[in-house]
C-alpha cells in the first residue's frame, strides 16, 4: 500500500473579502473627509448642546488660545484685501503692495499693529514658525481688536458678517469679556461661539423637547 501523500500547499488564503472591506472603508473616508483648515494655534473648544451649524462663509473669527492670545481671521480673501487696505489707511501701517498680498494669503493674524509690517514682510514659511504674541485687547477699550472689528465691518459694509468667537477651554473669562467689549463698542451684540457638539443630557427638559419633536415627526 502506498503511503498517503500529503499535498503541500502554500498557506494562502483568499483575501478578496478583506480587500473589499478595506476599500469600502477607504472610499467612505475619502468621501466623508474634509481637511482641517490650517490653524496657527491649537484651540480645544468646549462642548455645547447647540445644534446650529457653523456658518462657513462671511465669517470674522476671533480665536483665543490657552494662554489668552487673541487671533483674528477673515475667511474671504476678497474682503481680506479690503480689510488690509482699510487698516493700512486708518492705522498708517505703511504696507507695501507685496506685504498686503502676503496678508491676503495669511491664515490668521495675531500680532500688534506695530509688528504687522514685519510679519507680513517675512517669507511665508518663516512666518508660520513665528510665535505670535496675539492682538492686544487688554482692557475694556477693546485695544487694537476694536480697530480690526471696525474695519472688518466697514469692509463688509451692509452685508451680514458672522462674528465667531472660538476660545480654548482653559482661556480665562476676562479675555473673553474684553473681546465681547471690543465687539460691543462696535455696536455688535450677536455672536456665535464655536463649540463641539454634545447630546442633551437624558431626562433634562431640552432632551424631552427634542424627543417630542422627533415623535411628532418634525
Amino acid at each position: 500500500m502506498p503511503s498517503v501523500k500529503i499535498k503541500k500547499h502554500a498557506p494562502t488564503n483568499d483575501m478578496t473579502p478583506f480587500v473589499d472591506v478595506a476599500f469600502l472603508i477607504l472610499s467612505f473616508f475619502m468621501l466623508a473627509t474634509k481637511f482641517k483648515p490650517e490653524e496657527p494655534v491649537e484651540v480645544t473648544t468646549p462642548n455645547s448642546v447647540s445644534s446650529t451649524t457653523l456658518p462657513e462663509k462671511d465669517a470674522f473669527m476671533v480665536s483665543v488660545d490657552k494662554g489668552g492670545r487673541v487671533f483674528v481671521q477673515v475667511d474671504n480673501p476678497e474682503f481680506r484685501q479690503i480689510l488690509i487696505q482699510n487698516l493700512n489707511q486708518t492705522r498708517n501701517l505703511g504696507l507695501t503692495p507685496a506685504e498686503m498680498k502676503s496678508f491676503i494669503n495669511a491664515p490668521s493674524i495675531g500680532v500688534p499693529f506695530n509688528q504687522l509690517k514685519g510679519l507680513l514682510a517675512m517669507d511665508q514659511d518663516l512666518a508660520k514658525k513665528v510665535q505670535q504674541p496675539g492682538v492686544p485687547c487688554a482692557d475694556s477699550t477693546g485695544g487694537e481688536l476694536y480697530f480690526w472689528i471696525r474695519d472688518a465691518l466697514s469692509a463688509y459694509s451692509g452685508r451680514k458678517l458672522n462674528l465667531l468667537i472660538k476660545a480654548d477651554n482653559d482661556a480665562k473669562y476676562p479675555v473673553f469679556k474684553n473681546i465681547l467689549d471690543a465687539f460691543k463698542k462696535n455696536d455688535q451684540n450677536k455672536f456665535l461661539l464655536v463649540t463641539s457638539p454634545e447630546d442633551a443630557p437624558i431626562g433634562s427638559s431640552l432632551y424631552e423637547t427634542r424627543q417630542n419633536q422627533i415623535k411628532s415627526g418634525k
Binding site: 447647540s50 445644534s51 477651554n169 482661556a171 473669562y173 455696536d187 464655536v194 457638539p197 427638559s205
Partner: protein, 177 residues
C-alpha cells in the same frame, strides 16, 4: 511579491486522446494592495474632521447708561450664579449675596430645575456672573445649562466687588487656591 501564480493547482491528468485546455489559476497576491489600502485608510482617518463644530448663539444686551433704563428683576424670581476658581459654582436666590451657597457643575442643574419649578415662569431670571478666575469653558457650560433647562430669561452680568469679596472669603475658607 506581486507574483501571479499560474498553473499551479490546475493541471489535471490528461487522459489518452483527450486534450484538455490548460487551467490557469487566477489567484493574485493581494498583499501589496491591502497594504496600500490600509495605508490610505490610516491617512484619511488621521486627517479627517468628523464632528463638524457647532455654533452657540450669544446675544448680549447693549450697554445702558442710565440706571432707570435697565431691566428690573423681581426678587422672588432672581437666581444668581457665580463662577469661581477650580470649576466651583456659587449661587444665591433673591437679592442677598450673603445667602451664598456652593455647588459644582454637576449639582447646579438640580438647583436650576428646583428654582424653575418653584417660581412663576414670568418672574424667573437667571443672572450669570463669571469672576475673573472663571475659565471660558465654565462660561460656556453655564450658558449651555440655560439651554438644557430651557431657561428663557438669563443675563450675563459683571460681578460686583461685594460679591467677589464674598466668593474670595468662601474660597479661602474652603481652601480653594
Amino acid at each position: 511579491m506581486a507574483s501571479i501564480d499560474a498553473g499551479d493547482g490546475g493541471g489535471g491528468k490528461k487522459g489518452p486522446g483527450v486534450k484538455k485546455a490548460k487551467k490557469l489559476s487566477t489567484t493574485v497576491d493581494m498583499t501589496p494592495m491591502v497594504d496600500l489600502g490600509f495605508l490610505l485608510i490610516t491617512f484619511f482617518i488621521f486627517t479627517t474632521t468628523m464632528a463638524q463644530p457647532t455654533a452657540m448663539n450669544l446675544f448680549m444686551p447693549k450697554d445702558v447708561e442710565k440706571k432707570e433704563d435697565q431691566n428690573k428683576v423681581k426678587e422672588s424670581g432672581a437666581f444668581t450664579i457665580m463662577l469661581g476658581k477650580q470649576d466651583v459654582v456659587y449661587y444665591y436666590e433673591g437679592m442677598d449675596p450673603t445667602q451664598l451657597k456652593t455647588a459644582t457643575f454637576k449639582t447646579i442643574r438640580d438647583e436650576i430645575i428646583r428654582k424653575k419649578q418653584s417660581t412663576n415662569p414670568e418672574d424667573l431670571v437667571m443672572i450669570i456672573k463669571p469672576t475673573v478666575d472663571a475659565t471660558y469653558k465654565n462660561t460656556v457650560d453655564i450658558l449651555d445649562e440655560m439651554t438644557i433647562n430651557e431657561i428663557k430669561r438669563y443675563a450675563m452680568v459683571d460681578i460686583s466687588p461685594q460679591e467677589y469679596q464674598l466668593i474670595q472669603i468662601t474660597e479661602a475658607a474652603a481652601g480653594i487656591k
